[in-house]
């Protein structure tokens, strides 16, 4: 089992969600995050220019069986890209075990 974590633009969230549903990934968690990056957002307030390096993004955490890893990543790559700096990142890591709290069962079946 793999954990696919993605940091994407908030504006791309609904497109990514739809793309994930289309490849059969229906369960995942997400939350809004603030981060630092190469991108700077320019602002002007009462005649004073300033830029904020804190960037607002959405963080998705998706745990899938190994055979879903590739389609999940591809779905996010296709749906979340604008080609501009700041599109985000995807991290993939190994998950040792998964439990379903209701029944106590474990293993890949719990992700279906």
């Amino acid at each position: 089992m793999k954990k696919v974590e993605a940091i994407i633009r908030k504006s791309k969230f609904s497109k990514v969600k739809k793309a994930l549903h289309e490849v059969g990934v229906n369960f995942f968690s997400y939350w809004d995050v603030t981060g630092l990056g190469n991108e700077k957002e320019g602002h002007v307030y009462r005649g004073v220019s300033y830029s904020t390096s804190d960037i607002q993004r959405r963080y998705l955490s998706i745990v899938v069986n190994d055979d879903f890893e590739e389609v999940t990543i591809k779905a996010i790559l296709d749906a979340a890209s604008t080609g501009e700096v700041g599109d985000g990142k995807i991290f993939v890591s190994q998950v040792d075990e998964v439990y379903r709290i209701r029944t106590g069962e474990k293993g890949g079946n719990t992700l279906k």
């Binding site: 002007v44 009462r46 005649g47 004073v48 300033y50």
Partner: protein, 412 residues
């Protein structure tokens, strides 16, 4: 009798509108500052209106309207007792009753300190501010007001063909009186931590632009009473003309400030748009009943340009005024007062000189008094909160309260 009733009802409505301006000031000030200082600012505003009214009852009203006096300072008479004819048409040409007179003027009185409140936000000790407010609203404002509205020396000043300084509703008597004190206090207080880095002004964005916007629109509404009530009766022509000039100047001030700031800074800055509206309102206040609609638009438009450059100037000379009070109330207040000598029914060189003398008299009096008060406070109890209190917020330290306990995200 019937006319007195009509007049009096209008004046009481205006009294209520001026009262409502305190909501506008409160919203504007908290909107343009950071969330960690919200309680502190609201506390100051509530303190000003409550204590201000009581002070006006105790000494202010009599000090400001002493009747026959030497023209410079009235005597201290405590409490208010209506004269025998105070509730009849004999009093004030039947424009209002004596009770209404007290309350309408009382609502004005607190405004001067409110102007200072915004300018010193986010760093001034609340105790020092309270003491300043008591002295400024209790003594300085009424004495300054008596010079003109109380029949003092400025109201009969002669120069050439012109007689009498003119300030219809308080560009100088209210707004500049607050503005000069704001200037002095901001200077003695110093800038907020982080406002200037390597000598360059930094942006410290306010935490709620929607509240600031509501505040400005409420202030505009309140100005219907501020200027409309300054007619001192419900005279149909004078009140309606005054509301027309007031609104046109506000609109012109906003639009021109918006255009000016967009040209200068290449962004559509809502806060400048809002300050422009207030600049227009303050600018028209001295001559709202003397101007044609065209004059009013010009006065407002010039105020709109002044606002943008004044905000820049205040930054440049390293004064930190979070809400733009100096630009709005001082610069535009002075402009509006001088504009009486340039535009409208009273325009003329002689009147202009009198207006200039008036502005200078108030400048000297307000700068000296506010300097003495604030400097004394600085050397005794201190006027500035500690660095830690400032960084963590005045709400947490001065009040041990949180304005939005359920929304704690930004710790800046």
């Amino acid at each position: 009798m019937e006319l007195l009733t009509i007049n009096n009802v209008w004046m009481m409505i205006c009294t209520a509108l001026v009262f409502f301006m305190h909501t506008g000031f409160a919203f504007l000030e908290i909107g343009l500052t950071r969330q960690k200082n919200t309680i502190n600012i609201l506390f100051k505003n509530i303190f000003i209106i409550t204590v201000g009214l009581l002070l006006y009852y105790i000494i202010g009203f009599n000090l400001m309207y002493p009747g026959d006096f030497n023209g410079y300072i009235g005597s201290i008479v405590t409490g208010i007792t209506p004269p025998e004819n105070g509730m009849t048409a004999d009093y004030a040409d039947g424009g209002y009753t004596w009770w209404t007179d007290f309350l309408f003027q009382g609502m004005f009185a607190a405004t001067a300190a409110t102007i200072v409140s915004g300018a010193v936000a986010e760093r001034m000790k609340i105790g020092a501010f309270m003491i300043f407010t008591i002295i400024y609203v209790g003594f300085v404002y009424p004495i300054a007001g008596s010079w003109q509205w109380g029949g003092g020396f400025l109201s009969s000043l002669e120069f050439g063909d012109a007689t009498g300084f003119y300030d219809f509703a308080g560009s100088t008597l209210v707004h500049s009186v607050g503005g000069w004190a704001a200037l002095v206090t901001v200077w003695l207080l110093g800038a907020r931590i982080g406002k200037f880095k390597d000598g360059k002004p930094q942006a410290i964005p306010g935490h709620s632009i929607p509240l600031a916007t509501a505040g400005v629109l409420i202030l505009w509404l309140g100005w219907f009473g501020f200027n409309g009530g300054s007619v001192l009766s419900a005279d149909p022509e004078a009140t309606s003309l005054t509301l027309v000039t007031t609104c046109l100047a506000a609109a012109a001030g906003g639009v021109v400030a918006m255009i000016t700031s967009t040209i200068l800074y290449k962004n559509l800055d809502l806060t400048m748009f809002l300050n422009g509206i207030l600049g227009g309102l303050v600018g028209i206040t001295a001559g709202a009943d003397q101007m044609s609609p065209e004059d009013a638009i010009l006065i407002g438009a010039i105020a709109g340009v002044l606002i943008v450059f004044a905000v820049r100037l205040v930054d440049k000379i390293k004064l930190d005024d979070p809400v733009g009070a100096i630009a709005v109330h001082l610069i535009c207040g002075v402009w509006g007062t001088l504009a009486v000598g340039l535009f409208g029914a009273k325009a003329g060189f002689d009147q202009f000189v009198i207006q200039l003398i008036g502005v200078a008299c108030y400048a000297v009096f307000c700068i000296v008094t506010s300097f003495v008060i604030i400097y004394t406070l600085k050397k005794t109890i201190g006027i500035r909160v500690s660095e830690r209190e400032e960084l963590e917020g005045l709400d947490a330290h001065e009040h041990k309260m949180d304005a939005y306990p359920d929304f704690r995200l930004n710790e800046h």
